[in-house]
């Protein structure tokens, strides 16, 4: 991040008029990005008759907060929230534990066959989910896991190529002297991991946790396949069901959408640094 803070020569030459034009362009583009969000928020607070008003009502007066209550009680969104939380938290624990161990092994330990395995792991990054989706479904249905959270949580304890790669890149940057010092003091591998590596790697591990949480929260295809009972639905399944099964009341639908994404949006605001840093760890430096 630190390079962003340097005053690069390019910007120094962005004098008066150019700087003004830059801000104009920034504001126009930002407006384009914010309009859908604004429309979402304002629609969610409109009474039915204002939803279809021409010309558009920009800000509903008075705002109908009751839309939220009505929308969220139309379906058991509380239950869906609980279901989604169980899956998301389970996935976070699974990914953090498994990926950290595997990534450390790939970053630091020497063994015959390691290079080949590493290439195999990177290759699986390119494997589209739909290719394994059907056989995985058949396997999980054979062992009776369909219509439970297990197919969504258990696999996360078996690692994820992207996060393993990301953590490995991070671990490689940690000076090896630290571990050597701990080893001389008689620490074993797990102690080194726990007391030396993990504390230093908190930003990278936070990244894995945040991404996993966000992904699990928003995931749609896998829950759609595995969760059949409505009582097992995640928020996204609930929202999709809401959209397709009711005489569409747009104000309700917008209120439900906003409520459903609010937690990840808040998470994003509180963890922006980790977010941006995390995406870029593995991305650029090979």
């Amino acid at each position: 991040m630190s390079n962003y803070d340097q005053r690069d020569p390019y910007i120094l030459r962005l004098g008066g008029m150019r700087l003004f034009l830059r801000y104009m362009l920034l504001c126009l583009t930002a407006l384009l990005f914010l309009l859908p969000l604004y429309w979402l928020v304002s629609s969610s607070l409109k009474p039915e008759y204002q939803i279809f008003a021409q010309p558009p009502v920009w800000w509903p007066v008075p705002p109908v907060w009751k839309n939220y209550i009505d929308a969220l009680t139309e379906l058991p969104f509380g239950l869906y929230t609980l279901n989604t939380l169980i899956i998301a938290v389970g996935a976070v624990i699974g990914h953090v534990l498994s990926c950290a161990l595997v990534a450390y092994a790939f970053a630091r330990l020497r063994a015959p066959g390691k290079d080949v395995l590493f290439v195999v792991m990177l290759a699986t990054l390119m494997l589209p989910y739909p290719v394994v989706m059907i056989p995985q479904y058949i396997i999980f249905s054979e062992i009776g896991w369909v219509n439970s959270f297990k197919p969504l949580i258990v696999p996360t304890f078996l690692g994820n190529a992207f996060f393993i790669f990301l953590l490995r890149q991070f671990f490689l940057q940690i000076p090896i002297d630290l571990e050597d010092a701990a080893r001389i003091d008689g620490a074993n591998l797990l102690q080194i991991l726990w007391y030396v590596i993990f504390p230093i790697s908190r930003p990278a591990i936070a990244t894995v946790a945040i991404f996993t949480f966000q992904f699990a929260w928003n995931d749609f295809l896998a829950p759609l396949i595995y969760l059949q009972d409505q009582s097992k639905y995640t928020l996204m399944l609930g929202l999709s069901f809401f959209r397709s099964s009711f005489e569409v009341n747009w104000a309700y639908l917008m209120a439900a959408s906003l409520s459903v994404v609010a937690p990840v949006v808040l998470l994003f605001f509180f963890t922006q640094r980790e977010f941006v840093a995390g995406i870029t760890i593995g991305g650029v430096k090979q």
Binding site: Y10, V131, I138, V265, F275, T280
Partner: protein
């Protein structure tokens, strides 16, 4: 590290212990790879040679799914067409759009952090909510888009409800996801040494020549990375289409993965769906390999390549 045939027996006890620890630590991934990737892939290859409705036993039909059913299935061709057109349009748009945003927010000027946040925010909504928002934005009667068009006297199309406009509409709404490419570009821009701009400035370069002769060439590894990510994910487009149009109207947005899903879980045609999945895999693989091969013509690596 590259002594290929290093036997376990030739390792010193300490190295053998280290190797053992290695395999112990990676065992979760190894088990996952075998049980959730390798075995399923072989299994799905087998399934793709069968007719199977999940209720009765699979019936071996050889290559029928590939050489008889698929070529004669108009919806297969339609889904392929939709996906290829969409990918051909989406990938360049995302690459250019993401770069545009990154260049716009790369300089540390007052308030830039807020703009970065605004541009990245919509990608957090990825999935159902993203599609629902645009479903409403593009509502023919009272979506913001048509209301705005009406203000300037244009009678907007029915967007997602019109077979001719549905795919362009899906494409249009994706600008909202450019933030993903943007942050990766930002990291790439960060890695370009500022001395290069200084020496370019001495040579009297302007913003445009900086962009064309310094920034873009040095950014090609990042562009390459974004290109690969974009191709792989775009071929798998599913949620937007499922939620916003469910493939319609008249199959005009029948994406490949959506069709695959319908075959598997609506028509319970597991064998055919598995065959479709393999075709998708082959297509993605070919495109990815082509892009990898093309690297030496346009990707410029400045530093020495890191190796183990």
């Amino acid at each position: 590290m590259t002594g290929r045939k290093r036997q376990w027996t030739s390792l010193s006890p300490a190295r053998r212990r280290e190797a053992l620890s290695f395999y112990l630590l990676i065992s979760p991934w190894l088990i996952g790879f075998l049980l959730l990737t390798a075995v399923p892939m072989l299994y799905s290859l087998y399934v793709s040679f069968t007719h199977w409705d999940l209720l009765t036993d699979p019936v071996w039909i050889g290559l029928d799914n590939y050489i008889r059913k698929m070529p004669n299935d108009p919806r297969f061709w339609q889904s392929l067409k939709v996906t290829l057109i969409y990918t051909a349009a989406y990938v360049p748009l995302e690459l250019a759009g993401g770069l545009f945003l990154a260049l716009l927010v790369q300089n540390r000027i007052r308030g830039i952090r807020v703009f970065r946040t605004i541009f990245y925010l919509p990608t957090v909504l990825a999935g159902v909510a993203f599609a629902v928002v645009w479903l409403w934005m593009l509502n023919p009667r009272s979506g913001l888009v048509n209301l705005a068009l009406a203000q300037v006297g244009i009678n907007g199309p029915r967007w997602l409800l019109d077979p001719d406009w549905a795919l362009p509409a899906l494409l249009m709404m994706t600008f909202w996801g450019w933030g993903r490419a943007m942050v990766i570009y930002l990291a790439g821009l960060q890695a370009i040494p500022s001395e290069l701009y200084e020496s370019a400035a001495i040579d009297g370069s302007n913003a445009w020549s900086n962009l064309v002769y310094v920034t873009i060439p040095l950014l090609t590894p990042t562009i390459f990375f974004n290109l690969i990510l974009s191709i792989i994910s775009t071929f798998q487009t599913f949620t937007n289409a499922f939620v916003a149009t469910n493939g319609g109207p008249l199959d005009s947005t029948l994406f490949f993965v959506l069709y695959l899903y319908k075959q598997a879980f609506e028509f319970l045609s597991m064998g055919y769906a598995a065959a479709l999945a393999w075709v998708l895999f082959a297509i993605i693989l070919v495109f990815t390999l082509l892009v990898f091969r093309s690297q030496r013509f346009w990707v410029f690596y400045s530093g020495e390549r890191l190796s183990e």
